[in-house]
């Protein structure tokens, strides 16, 4: 019995000793840890400077790859802001059946203008229509040779609601209601340009997304390849570090920081390129839009978007480095 006790005591003691040794060895200092990170951060930047030409080329390739989707984004942003400001009065043009006469047409016109969602109704008689047509077509002689007036009576209904992407469905319902009137042969909402524009915009958006994804993958590959070469050129160092007990995360760290630097610098120069590009096209773009009678100030990358661009590129840089480093340090063995 006493023997057993003493043995248990010895075990406890040795456990205590191990624990003590362990805590001594792993005494973790946050200050030291941060200092290590900071020195790795600066060291990895200095390493970029050691190979200035290669580093500049990598950074510029990343910058160019990011400038493309970035400027597409700015372009879309501007088109959207122009169209959202185009809250214009639109009209629903009602072409009445040819057999509908003026009295019936006028009655319909009064009925419609009484509706709460209609601002006004323009009455265009057959004669008025013909005169208008003559004026802008120039076919005076041809028209005078006609037996009668082939044009129908036209009512131009101006809805109270302005047309925009949001109100389009409401106006479309109104158009259908008006088309359902017995006198109306055909009702046309002249806001279809808006629908087309919306389609073009969503096409542009998808194009921008697809391009962004492709080019971000390209950046990943570029960073990955550069980091792979960096790992390869420091093969001996990685090997020795592994042999003397460096953890994978310790070995990874300088390369991840290198990827971070590539990302941040690439994002920075991409932002710069986009700012320069939009400044360069702003004067002609603004003149062009003003020709369409609307005041326009080109929007460029704002501070938030620059921060977003830097964040994305930094993240992509680190990810590219991570993939490359994990693949390659595992292969370095004695």
């Amino acid at each position: 019995m006493p023997q057993k006790n003493s043995r248990r005591g010895a075990t406890r003691q040795s456990v205590k000793a191990t624990k003590h040794r362990w805590s001594k060895r792993s005494s973790f200092s946050l200050k030291l840890y941060l200092r290590q990170h900071q020195s790795t951060l600066t060291e990895s930047f200095m390493r970029l400077l050691n190979y200035p030409l290669a580093s500049v080329m990598t950074v510029m390739v990343i910058a160019i790859a990011l400038t493309l989707p970035g400027s597409l984004y700015v372009l879309l942003k501007n088109v959207q802001s122009i169209t959202s400001n185009w809250d214009k009065q639109s009209a629903i043009t009602l072409y009445l059946f040819p057999q509908v006469d003026d009295t019936q047409a006028l009655a319909l016109s009064h009925r419609l203008s009484a509706r709460p969602d209609v601002a006004s109704v323009d009455y265009i008689s057959k004669e008025e229509g013909l005169r208008d047509f003559e004026r802008w077509s120039g076919y005076t002689q041809l028209l005078s040779s006609l037996q009668g007036n082939p044009l129908p009576i036209v009512l131009k209904v101006i809805p109270k609601m302005v047309v925009s992407e949001q109100t389009l469905p409401v106006l479309e319902t109104l158009r259908k209601q008006l088309a359902a009137q017995g006198e109306v042969q055909n009702a046309v909402l002249d806001a279809q340009w808006l629908e087309r524009l919306a389609n073009i915009l969503s096409f542009g958006q998808r194009l921008a997304y697809a391009l962004s994804i492709l080019l971000i993958v390209a950046v990943l590959l570029i960073v990955g390849n550069t980091i792979r070469m960096a790992v390869e050129s420091r093969r001996d160092e990685v090997l020795v570090m592994k042999l003397v007990g460096a953890t994978d995360s310790y070995i990874r760290r300088p390369f991840l920081y290198m990827g971070l630097w590539f990302g941040i610098l690439g994002g920075f120069f991409a932002s710069l390129c986009i700012l320069i590009l939009s400044w360069w096209v702003s004067a002609p773009a603004e003149r062009l839009i003003e020709l369409y009678g609307s005041h326009f100030k080109l929007q460029t990358f704002n501070a938030d978007e620059i921060v977003l661009c830097l964040t994305i590129s930094a993240f992509v840089g680190i990810s590219g480095a991570w993939i490359a480093v994990n693949r390659h340090i595992a292969n370095i063995e004695l």
């Binding site: 160092e237 020795v240 007990g245």
Partner: protein, 223 residues
């Protein structure tokens, strides 16, 4: 540190059997030599102890702990307890002697003041204190090997492994290097030196383990 090999085998994917049924026990504080012709499995045995490679059969106990239970993540911490010296030094020529020796301390997160103190102590022990600012390239072969030894002991390892540490050195320098290992052993470090320099090994009068084609053919006697 105490090392025990129990019927350890290492078979490579190619089918080549580098070690088979190797058993020996290296006691805490013991010094021994490992000899055998080239290709006999000396380096493989060292690699198993470093966990650079893993055995395919048998078990290796380090201080009673089976190395098989250690995960990949635990390997660096195992290596920090073991100092290794290589024939080809594995020194980094892009940094000074000081920074070569400091590497094991840096990777285990020792603070810079402590690092400087311990690096100087290690360099002092191998007689290179005045040369810490040199590039290793500027030093002789014997001095380079001593940098490697300083790096192996700077972390105060409990086990010191040396793979052909005197391979390229003349007899006088070789004897000096061996005496260094003897000194570390004198302060309680377990030492295992792989060498094919039988004359030198015999002079050291320690236990000799001999490998032949992956098998332990002699254990104990002097070569």
């Amino acid at each position: 540190m105490e090392i025990e090999f129990q019927r350890v085998g290492k078979k490579y994917d190619s089918g080549q059997e580098a070690l088979s049924q190797v058993s020996f026990h290296l006691r805490q504080g013991e010094m021994a030599f490992l000899t055998g012709h080239s290709g006999a499995g000396k380096s493989t045995l060292m690699k198993l102890m470093m966990m650079i490679e893993r055995q395919t059969s048998g078990q290796i106990l380090v201080d009673g702990v089976d190395l098989r239970i250690l995960s990949r993540r635990a390997i660096p911490y195992h290596r920090r307890r073991v100092g290794v010296v290589f024939q080809n030094h594995q020194l980094l020529f892009d940094r000074s002697v000081f920074h070569n020796v400091a590497l094991p301390l840096q990777v285990s997160g020792v603070d810079p003041e402590q690092t400087a103190k311990r690096v100087r102590a290690a360099l002092d022990k191998v007689g290179l204190l005045g040369k810490e600012k040199y590039n290793p390239m500027a030093l002789s072969g014997g001095e380079q090997q001593r940098i490697g030894i300083a790096r192996a002991v700077v972390n105060k390892p409990q086990l010191l492994l040396a793979d052909e540490p005197t391979g390229n050195l003349d007899p006088k320098l070789s004897a000096e290097i061996m005496n260094l290992f003897q000194e570390f052993n004198n302060v309680g470090v377990t030492v295992l030196v792989a060498s094919h320099d039988l004359a030198l090994v015999a002079r050291m009068r320690h236990r000799v383990l001999t490998l032949n084609q992956g098998r332990m053919v002699n254990d104990g006697g002097f070569a």
